[in-house]
Amino acid sequence: MNEFKGRTLSWQIVNGAIELALHRDPCNEIGSLTLEELEKFATALPLLANDAHALIIHSTLKAGFSAGADLRELFQRGQELDKAAALRGVREFLERIHSVMNALDAAPLTTIAAVHGVTFGGGFELALVCDIIVADRMARFCFPELRLGLIPGFGGIPRLKRDLGNAVVRDLLLTGRSFNVMKAQQIGLVSQIAAEGEALRIARATASQVGKFDGRTAAAAKEFMKPIPYAELKREIDIFCDLYSRPTVEEGLRRFVENEGPQPYLP
């Protein structure tokens, strides 16, 4: 399926690069429907990779790349189900999203996240599975999960540790603060900065450059340079599920969901 138009995302091949566009209003929150469509993409990816040398993931929404997990859906499920069923649902969701993230991380072609605006939580984790992050000047990154009594659950900590120094990872996680693209490049997270609105164009130029080299060589180099921390990723799911059961999480989610003020995304 070389082309797909879904409700939360779409893909097509453009000049030898698969372009996966996220477009679920208001800011690509990752809930059940997005997960289903990401799974479709992960299933299609091996065949798509035969006709492409790169994958670019980007968002068509003004607000940003992705605000992360759909907290409203997570809260709602917690209210509708008994605690044991809700926890089982959370674990199942995490195992499925990890499967998608791992497939993207291991993809046999160069992957590029072209990000702008809000790139928070699960959205940040989606960018982290990519080989290269191109960010425009207005990109802002954050792992706000501690504000909710949780840790990142889509593979963020093991992947962040893979790419950055541990001291910086601790600062970002324990303060839950957001940071801009200059800081992101300074710490080695972002390799290219684009002018506002230009991230996709620069990602396409990067994909074009990558396409000049032998695909199998690039895949071998990537596998060598970028090991996937499977054991830590599994452990992250266990820790997340332990934390999820606590009352502080329900309260944190409730505060976020019921916040009628303008400030839910501020700490």
């Binding site: 940003g64 207005m138 603060r177 200059m182 303008p262 839910p264 501020l266 700490p267």
Partner: protein, 82 residues
Amino acid sequence: MSVPASDHTLNEILNLAAAHFKVPREKLSPDEDFFKTLGIDSLQALDLLTRLEHHFSIELPDYELQGVSDFRTLANRIQARL
């Protein structure tokens, strides 16, 4: 503890906010709630924060904005980083 902002810093912030959110400069007052005056939400406030960081070449952790909703206090926070 915050450092009192210079008039210059405060004016730069007001000018930047007015230009970006396309609001007449004279409508912005240093001591009014900027969420209400600009009609913005937290995602747009983060956008403003990013622009201010670039403009002043500073890093301003967003937890320093906790409870901040007027330009004068925001300017004080920024001044402390200059």
